[in-house]
Structure formats: structure tokens, C-alpha cells
Point group: C2
């Protein structure tokens, strides 16, 4: 199937959403935890978390802050400066998925969706107790993406909690940590590690 | 295991790279194809491709353009305004991985890594023939991420080629399209679709 720009523009809104939300490939499944200055917690699923750099350890995610009834994650981060990112695991995909409902600010998705707030040391934002791979971030910068009125929210990792099962000589094995991927808006995947290749040095490139 | 900011800062560079490159979760495996104004093609693996919006169909990826010996993807896009993004499939993970070598500009990774240039209609940049899910993009905007000297390169989809196997009523099934995920720098994953949930309406949220 070949869609050209005009074909894409002419798709109905829902079909276009489903297709274009899948074309980048698999996306990571994470929950972002926040709290406002009155102590009201919020939890929201995001598939747009992205690695930006390792030194400092900088992570971004894309947010749509410009509507009234959603964007509590964004406004809480602006208020407090702190948030958590928590991997989703297969056992609580359904709970995590329903955090995408447009709940009122008074409703905590932790409580409504059956997930547990966890506070670690004096870190201000709530972690998800059910997640075994999670991090606490300090807000560093927001970058407006004017082309479609979204924002890239950038933070630095201050706390990193992860399972003991990774080898320091290898990438973290996301099959062993039970990480989950997303396509589009509603489809969830488990992962099978199928290949591990070395860092590429020019004099070691095989003939193809 | 719990690493705090000081622990992360004090890791050796390679260990920190491996860990922090995995903490966002699974990343999509894509090849970006470009050509310069002299007709020299380039192909490079990226794990930072991200969906930014569906209308218009806007995709971003993160690039590190500020070194001499890498960044041909970025400079070619600045030169010509066009590029392709091609899904990696299990049969050519190894070929795709080795495009990360720091080849000279005169070397085309298509040829050196055993992948085939494909030109579709009059689209300026080369596609990867071996990929069954790919798109041609027109450069729209670059956004400097000053915090670590990277750039978010933003483009709009002008051509979209994808397998016939997806259902218009559902997200595209990335298990059926043989999409691949990456953790860290060197580890590759296949995908198993395990759950599909509905769009969330507040009055349909189950009790948890």
C-alpha cells in the first residue's frame, strides 16, 4: 500500500491517527507520575519518552499542554519541577492504559486505576510501586514544537531504580525486565531479545 | 538496584552509556536514507525516531550534528531537504547495525553494508528496498537541544509505503509487519502483540 501526502491528508481523523501513530515503529510504554502543590497526585501513560543523552542523563517526552481538560502531568511538572517515569509491565497494562482517560484534576489515576503510589527517600513525585524499573527526574527545560503546538519536556535523572538482573557488560535486557512496547494508541507488545551485536569499529566491519 | 545522581555521574563512560541508553524502554529500529547534492548516498541506523503529530503527519528524530566524522545524515538533510525512514526487519538487523560505523562520506553504507537503494516516483532520497514499511519525509524544522548539543530534526511524511496486512479498524500490528526494537546501543528485539484495549471514555472505565 502506498499513501502519498494527499492520501494521508484525506484520511478520516481516526484512521490517520491510528496509522501515523504506528509509523515510527515500536514505542516505549511508560507511566509519568506527578503531584501538584496541593498534594494531588496524577499518573498518565506516555509512549513518547525518548533518550536524549547519557552525560548528563537526559530524557525527554512530548506533551500536548494546550487544552483545559488534559495536561495535568505538564502543569504539575511546571509547578513542582519533579516527576517520575515508570516502566509498564504486562501485569498492569490494563491499569496503565486507563490512565489515559480525561479524569478531573481531583481524581488521582493511581487510585482510580488501581496502582500504588510509592515515595522514595525525599523525592517529591510519586513512583509506581508495581513498576520494577523507574526513575525520578528533575525538570530541566521545555522546548516548544510550534509546528503542532506540542512541547518537548526535558529532565535529568536524579534517582534510578532498576532490577538487579542486568549485566554491566551488556545493554539492559528489556525482555528480562519485562518491558512493554506500544503501537498506535491501544496495542501492547512484549519483547523477545533476538540479537546482540558489538560496537562497530571500521576495521571490524564484515563483508556483506 | 538504586542509583542516585552522584552514582550515575561516577559510572565509567561506557557503563553509563549502556544503562542510560536503556532506561527509556524499548526504542524503534529505523534506517534513515539520504543523498547529498553530488549524489552520494548515506544510510544510518537511528533509535530516536518519534511520533510528534498526526495532522500534519510529523515525525522527529534526534541527531548529534556537531562532529566532523559523523552526521552525514544531518548534513545531507540540510543540503537537500529530503530523507527516508525505513523500518528494520529481523532478516537485516546485522546489515543495519553496521551502518553505525564511522564511514567516510565517500562510502555509501547501502553498498558497504549490503542494503539496496530504491527510488520511488521522483522522491529525492533513497529508500531501503529490503524494508517493507517506509516513508519519505520533507524536512520542516530543526530544534536545537542546547542542554547537550543535539538537534531534533522534524519532517512531514510525503510518501508512506506499508504492508497490506493491517486492518483499518485497528492500530498497525507491528508483530505482523516484523518491526524490530532496540535497547541500549546493541540489542535487538522482536515483538509479540499481547493486548489490545479500547479508546478510553470516562464512563467506560472499569472498577480496579
Amino acid at each position: 500500500m502506498h499513501l502519498r501526502k494527499n492520501d494521508i491528508d484525506n484520511l478520516d481523523r481516526i484512521t490517520r491517527l491510528k496509522i501515523i501513530n504506528s509509523v515510527t515503529g515500536i514505542k516505549p510504554a511508560n507511566l509519568v507520575g506527578t503531584v501538584d502543590n496541593e498534594g494531588r497526585t496524577n499518573l498518565a501513560i506516555f509512549s513518547s519518552v525518548i533518550h536524549l543523552g547519557s552525560n548528563p542523563a537526559i530524557i525527554g517526552f512530548v506533551s500536548r499542554p494546550e487544552t483545559d481538560d488534559v495536561g495535568h502531568t505538564y502543569t504539575n511538572i511546571m509547578e513542582t519541577g519533579y516527576y517520575t517515569i515508570n516502566h509498564i509491565h504486562p501485569e498492569f497494562i490494563k491499569n496503565a492504559h486507563y490512565t489515559s482517560g480525561k479524569f478531573a484534576k481531583e481524581v488521582s489515576e493511581f487510585e482510580r486505576c488501581g496502582l500504588t503510589e510509592e515515595y522514595i527517600h525525599d523525592f517529591k513525585a510519586p513512583f509506581v510501586k508495581e513498576s520494577s524499573f523507574k526513575m525520578g527526574l528533575r525538570f530541566r527545560e521545555k522546548i516548544d514544537i510550534k509546528i503542532n503546538n506540542t512541547v518537548l519536556v526535558i529532565g535529568e535523572i536524579e534517582e534510578l531504580l532498576l532490577p538487579e538482573i542486568f549485566s554491566i557488560d551488556d545493554d539492559i535486557d528489556l525482555q528480562l525486565t519485562n518491558a512493554v512496547g506500544i503501537s498506535g494508541l491501544n496495542s501492547y507488545y512484549s519483547l523477545n531479545k533476538i540479537e546482540r551485536l558489538p560496537y562497530v569499529r571500521l576495521n571490524e566491519v564484515p563483508e556483506f
